[in-house]
């Protein structure tokens, strides 16, 4: 288990390196590795790119993302200034690997049956081909959920995120009834699930997200991982997808990325026929879809049943 974590950390790290250039950071990391003898040797070697373009091997323990070492407590009520988060989901790339779900669960310290992101089989008409639809909270610009909250426990932030103040939520579930996309989940009680969350709230700092522990009896959902993003780490689902289906980005920068490819948001939507779900409801989602044309995979029916176990009371 630990080994696997190490590996995935490394993979994420490499992805990040490629994504952001990470030049300065790497320089520091290598400098640290070379100059300081205090770092424990793990014996594992990692290839990294130096500032002058050379690939060198260093000890894995020498590498750290300075920001990811400690969880930061971003105030949930304030948006990250200057940002306007947005997502594009390329339906042509989704192969129902369900890795986004796993990554999200791990990052938010939840286990099944809690899914902040769901992958659904959709078929528009009998004659058209079915496709897979990854779906999470759309962080709408005209959110029906925040409108109905009686205590301002869910609200729209300046960075576009629809967030939840878990310390204020009274658990009336009106927001769940109001959401036409069924994006919200409820923490129904002291279950094996909530015990897991409590037990793991301090583990794996890199996976830290603003809702490390959803209090029992409150509503929760996809939060667009603002903590990770503020530290320069892409949201968990984006990084976990093996096919690069989910693109996360900032509308102000007009860029979205899945960690490998980066696109200009406006052009991507224009050229690829971007659309939003149920536009006629007027909710103005911040999640766009690209139609499932020229697919990477042919549609394959899911042979397995997922998420079949209900909650268990401890």
């Amino acid at each position: 288990m630990e080994k696997e974590d190490d590996k995935s950390d490394r993979r994420k790290f490499l992805k990040l390196g490629a994504l952001a250039g990470g030049v300065v950071l790497l320089g520091t990391a290598i400098g640290k590795a070379v100059s300081s003898g205090e770092t424990k040797e793990t014996g594992e070697k990692v290839k990294v790119l130096t500032t002058d373009g050379k690939v060198v091997e260093v000890n894995s323990s020498a590498i750290s993302h300075p920001a990811s070492n400690q969880p930061v407590h971003l105030p949930v009520r304030e948006g990250i200034s200057g940002k306007k988060f947005v997502r594009v989901i390329d339906l042509a790339r989704c192969g129902n690997a369900r890795k986004c779900i796993e990554g999200c669960q791990k990052s938010h310290n939840v286990i099944a049956p809690v899914e902040y992101i769901k992958v659904k089989k959709m078929q528009e008409t009998e004659d058209s081909s079915p496709f897979w639809l990854p779906q999470m909270c759309f962080h709408c610009d005209n959110p029906p959920c925040t409108k109905v909250c009686p205590v301002d426990a869910t609200f729209k932030r300046s960075d576009g995120i629809v967030a939840i103040d878990s310390d204020r939520c009274i658990g009336c579930r009106f927001c769940m009834a109001a959401c036409p996309y069924s994006a919200r989940v409820f923490n129904w009680g002291t279950t094996v699930q909530s015990k897991y969350t409590t037990d793991h709230q301090d583990t794996i700092p890199e996976n830290y997200c603003p809702t490390p522990q959803i209090p029992v009896g409150t509503v929760s959902k996809c939060d667009f991982c603002p903590d990770r993003v503020s530290k320069g780490i892409l949201p968990a689902c984006v990084m976990s997808c093996p096919n690069g289906t989910i693109f996360h980005g900032d509308q102000n920068e007009d860029t979205v990325t899945n960690g490998e490819d980066t696109f200009r948001l406006s052009e991507l939507l224009k050229n690829r026929g971007g659309y939003r779900l149920m536009e006629d409801l007027g909710t103005e989602p911040r999640v766009y879809y690209l139609p499932p044309v020229n697919r990477n995979f042919p549609f394959e029916e899911d042979s397995e049943k997922h998420n079949t176990e209900d909650y268990k009371i401890i």
């Binding site: 659904k120 409108k147 009686p150 769940m176 109001a178 129904w188 779900l277 998420n307 176990e309 009371i313």
Partner: protein, 460 residues
Amino acid sequence: MNQEHQILTPELIEKQSIRREEMRADLLRPLDKLGMLGKLWIAFLLIIFLIGCYAYYLQLKHGLIETGLRDYASWGLYISTFVFLVAVSLVGALISSILRFTHFTWNRPIMRISEIVAVAGVIWAGLIIIIDMGRPDRVLNLFIHPRLQSPILWDVVVVSTYLVTSVLLLYLPLLPGIAFLRDRLVKIPKWQKWMYKFLSLGWNGTQEQWTILKRGIRLLAIIIIPLALSIHTVTSWLFAMTLRPGWDSTNFGPYFVAGAFLAGTAGVILAMYVFRKAYHLEKYITEVHFDNMGKLLVLLAFIYAYFNVNEYFVPYYKMKGAEAAVLNDLFSGNFAGLYWSAQIFGMFLPAVFLMFKKMRTPGFVTLIAVPVLIFAWVKRFLIVTPTLLHPYLPIQNVPESWKNYFPSWVEISIVSASFAGVLLIITIFSRFFPIISIWETLENEGIELEDLDKLKKENV
């Protein structure tokens, strides 16, 4: 009111005083001692209530996981019962206020029954909404961080105002009665004497007190009409303010209000029948009352039917995608049995049967009121849950139990306890206070207690 003013001759005063004493005696008798049947009834209600308390303890301990609710069907029995109890409580305004401003006076003896039904209903509606909350410990957030844009806040405001107004509308006409009990009952425990003394607010029937009382009641009776319409309209908005198929309806306000009057009237008929039998009030709650309530039920059932046609058949004609899924499930799917039973036994057949005069006997009207009441509750469930089980996006990859909703024993016990709670409030109230307003009933017979009190004072 509309009686001609009579000249009070000594003979007439004598006659009226006798009549008053007779009525007082009739209404005092039930307060005297609790019969075996009464004891059993209260014990039965208490047991149900205590089972519910234990169930709620479990729910507080483990969370709402104890219910059958899950992420899709996130509202169920509790919210349905909330809507039902709010609905029933509307009758207080109908019987004791709307009819007060018509030229009818037959409703006088049943005004207090309908008012206590309203008060008990709205108290438990408020409680059950707290029971439904995931974090009842944070209920004060509604006052610390209120968001006035939320229909829940509107509901909190109107329901609490309606409760206060209903309690006052129950209490004010009761003042002369409490004062009478204070003066008349001697062989009662000290606390009870103290209670009557405290609650009578020093009433002694002066001309000034009567004037204030009547003016106050009239004012409250006016205020309560818009309030009653508001509480149920706002309750309907909890649903109609969302984008969900099945709830996204402009018809919801009047549809809810019409259904509420029907449910409440059935509730009052039931209460009338029980009080009439248990407290031997045949002289006051007469066959005329059941006949009239039967007619009222017919009228209300037809109004409700009209809104049902608009609510269900208009969208059914169009069969718009997402709406069609809910409607098909109601008309011919999983909920068809409940839906058609509710429409036929809760609305259609009662209206048809009670159109015939022969059917409008106390026994039969009550027999009809029972299914009307039960199916009114079922109907609230059919409004709440099927919509939640038919969201726009398909329900996939969830545990099988999430795709359906069946209430757990905890939910059923708590809801039963809330009904027991309603009945306990009504029962206990009727043990301590006359269930028929003496002065208002006598007023209807042309006897002004006000005048009698005045004459009594002059004679002394």
